[in-house]
Symmetry: D2
């Protein structure tokens, strides 16, 4: 039994392309929604624009595409903070399809590094201490 954080999504026509599948960059949007809801679940309702001074940006994204989602698929998108520093968090994220029998199939697997930057200077900054503490505490609660 996993206690990994995840959200459920439905594929809409806006997410697809003329190849008949979900347009590949949209998996990154799905993953961001999961990260956002994860941080919201930890008590941070505005994780992208953290304050007047601090914003969260994506520093790097490494994503492997295994299979394609199609229109009206039911998807599960996970977000797990694997490593944290004072100015970055590295997430491991997966997109899976859940079929009508509840079976799950991996579609995409990614490592996304987010960073905190000063909004005006665009320089790296420290995440708010409470946010980092909440992420670390949540990781400590994970069943391995």
């Amino acid at each position: 039994m996993s206690d990994e954080f995840s959200i459920d999504l439905r594929v809409y026509i806006e997410d697809t392309d003329a190849g008949g599948v979900v347009y590949y960059v949209n998996y990154l949007k799905f993953m961001e929604r999961a990260r956002t809801e994860y941080l919201r679940s930890l008590g941070f309702p505005k994780p992208a624009l953290l304050s007047d001074e601090l914003i969260t940006v994506v520093a790097s994204a490494n994503i492997d595409y295994k299979k394609s989602a199609v229109l009206d698929d039911a998807l599960i998108v996970s977000a797990k903070a694997e490593r944290t520093g004072s100015a970055f968090i590295v997430f491991r994220q997966q997109v899976k399809r859940r079929d009508e029998n509840g079976n799950e199939e991996l579609l995409a697997d990614a490592e996304i590094k987010i960073a905190c930057v000063n909004r005006l200077t665009a320089k790296p900054a420290r995440f708010p201490a409470e946010l980092r503490a909440a992420v670390l505490a949540d990781r400590g609660n994970e069943t391995e």
Copy 2:
């Protein structure tokens, strides 16, 4: 008390623009999600690509923007079939913001006409009879 069909949405960073608000074309995406879920609720799980032969397209959209949604807003998006023909359905749709006290504020108001077309010829076609019947039956159940 209204029994109008609606869905709840959260505004993500992907939905916004550099003006600090939801990018205005994205309200049309939100409205399509609501129409899709409305037709799904009537028993049509694939309303965009109805069959190998028939697809649903948007024939016209008239939308008025009243106020702007911002990041992390909680939105309610309604979909009401106002008029139906053999080859079209006209929806009245609204996007509202719900604040923390449950108060609602109208942000956008639109009339969207969808049509059924043959996928190969792109010519107008009749909606499946069951779909039209289901929409008409649902409208008959509305409290005015």
Copy 3:
């Protein structure tokens, strides 16, 4: 011979959907690009975020879809200021497909009303006088 302002676009996979055509909301993005380049051509290089105080928003959009564009189509998108007020401009815009022989076919036709608002208060504001004057002067130069 028309001297209407227009831009040329190519349809990319990002613009399409699983129906095999351009996703209908993306025509509004194409039209915004044309309005932006029109105002840029009049000497206003930042037409969306006009100043620290003033931004341009879309107040209403009425669009009729005639035919669908498909992947790799060459499109022409026009922008014509039909009416101007101190706080709004109404554009008539069209998206046409140009085939290999140079023949053009109308795909979508819209009336888009843009408005100037104060960024902080979100209240209607007057467009900068030079912008309005440039639009009016340009309209006076049109061959009818």
Copy 4:
């Protein structure tokens, strides 16, 4: 003097987010436009949907974000085929900003692996021999 293939782009409001910068997933759209135009320049006008049987998909994307583009920036997006196999091509791609004096600044750097798959079975397939030959010939023409 580089003879690397590249395209010029302008940042529109549709590309930005509420952080005031280009939404990070949109760099991947820009890079796909560059790959598409590169293959078009080699004589393949429909590189995404190659034939009734073959389509091109993205197998993996590794992208590092260095600096952010903002609204109305002039961007240069390159596409260089670094490695090719019978069923894949690995591109190195960069997004740079060009300022008013013609100076360029690196914003994002990526390695994108595209693959050929059978449209119906979704199984890996060989790229058309002429396409692979054209890419290899083009690489041979590069000044190192």
